[in-house]
Symmetry: C2
Subunit: 239 residues, 2 copies
DNA sequence: CGATAGTTTGATATCCTTCAAAACCTGTGG
DNA sequence: CCACAGGTTTTGAAGGATATCAAACTATCG
């Protein structure tokens, strides 16, 4: 199974071969993009849906005084704002964090899929509920945890999410984030991120650097950061 | 127009009389509940959808050590987790903040509405995109703003949201929140909330207390808190 | 090999928390 | 109608987590 969206959705529902075929059909138009390319800009009214095939993207906002806040990371298998064409104008940006491959899906194709494949529609609905749930957990993370635990929680989440699309090898993932990116994600200073990462390194919790993250003992990282994987809803609903 | 959901949706699309009638039909079963009553509990798999008619509710999570974080406030016209029956189990709680009236909508009734009234379906989709957008703005609020601005931003938002359902009289709204609630919403201490509120009172930004909030100059409150109303998507899409 | 982005270090300032107690409400039962 | 109980708001003093500022160091890439 090469399509990362299919890999992800198969965690939520049983996909038939036809379903997988339909997803491949959806991703007929895959293009390479350079690092920093914007898929969506504030004020746009997008006409197509994007699906990340390879690489990372971030969803972010810029405040009036120039500060930036990153509100989500998109990894392979993640869709950009499936429903967003309902709105007059989007209120955020989505940019690639490195060179990436992106499938471009015309609105009509997306609608056709949703009309004809109820099982996929359900899986996509699930997937978007999980996105909401992740957003809520980020809010809790910012509101209730100190810098150390906040970072640990985020890293554990990214590791788990990448594993569900088959992108965690042994205990490592690619992590194309600078410490400034982490700072703008967690509401902290790059300086403080740096100091906390050093502390976590010394404690043997993580090895980080050079665009990669190694977590020797994921359970331990989850324990220290009060991580409860429920919010990722990886357990399939029984019915 | 008495149905607060109809009032809210009419900001997004033009509703026909039939649409409004359908919404009233949806809310046939309205019941009174006592303060503190839980509409949804973590681990539930709800069979019905709730619609707040009168009163406030909060969506919150409890961490392992007992800390609580409030992730959203629901006000009249807001639905509880329309799609949530897709999930195996919800990962949060929704409780009433005071005595309230709640419409109880069976799953089947909701589905029927969505099948038969594409315009309402579109409006509900819009409404749920706005909810997501609000959640993202809360994340930015926590990540980038200090205590004072964070509080100001939240109060301005609640004032605007209540106004769109016709519940802001002159410059006042009901605000059934304790300072501890605000603290658990904004990731601050009740003590610090208290001191900031005093400061805002002295500055003439707000009058708050006794379950009510008065904002003499909403524009000023929005200015100091870097409030950009775009994220509420109150501008109707032109098409 | 120089330029540029990213990481690391140190010293100091500040916002916010913590802890503890007093004051203030609001509803309830006697 | 008073007294009391529980929750909420307010106040003070002191400590801690994180920010700020400035600069050195390191990696990366054309």
């Amino acid at each position: 199974m090469t399509n990362p969206l299919a890999t992800k959705l198969s965690h939520y529902v049983d996909l038939s071969d036809d379903d997988v075929g339909a997803l491949d059909w959806l991703c007929a138009d895959v293009r390479p993009f350079k690092a920093g390319k914007h898929l969506i800009k504030e004020g746009d009214r997008p006409e197509v849906v994007f699906l990340l095939i390879d690489g990372w993207a971030m969803r972010y906002k810029v405040l009036r005084d120039g500060r930036r806040h990153i509100m989500a990371y998109l990894v392979p298998g993640d869709l950009c704002d499936v429903q967003v064409f309902l709105l007059k104008a989007v209120d955020h940006n989505i940019a690639l964090l490195g060179d990436a491959s992106v499938a471009i899906i015309p609105q009509a194709k997306m609608s056709a899929l949703l009309d004809e494949r109820p099982r996929l529609t359900r899986a996509l609905g699930w997937s978007s509920l999980v996105e909401d749930s992740v957003l809520r957990e980020w809010l809790v993370n910012m509101g209730q945890r100190d810098a150390h635990d906040r970072i640990a929680h985020l890293l554990a989440e990214m590791w788990l999410r990448l594993r569900t699309v088959g992108l965690a090898s042994d205990h490592s993932i690619k992590l194309p984030l600078t410490q400034a990116d982490l700072a703008d994600t967690l509401g902290l200073t790059p300086v403080h991120i740096n100091r906390m990462l050093q502390q976590m390194r010394k404690a043997g919790l993580i090895e980080i650097g050079g665009g990669a993250l190694h977590i020797p003992d994921v359970q331990r990282l989850m324990d220290v950061s009060d991580f409860d994987a429920n919010y990722l809803h990886l357990e399939r609903r029984a019915d």
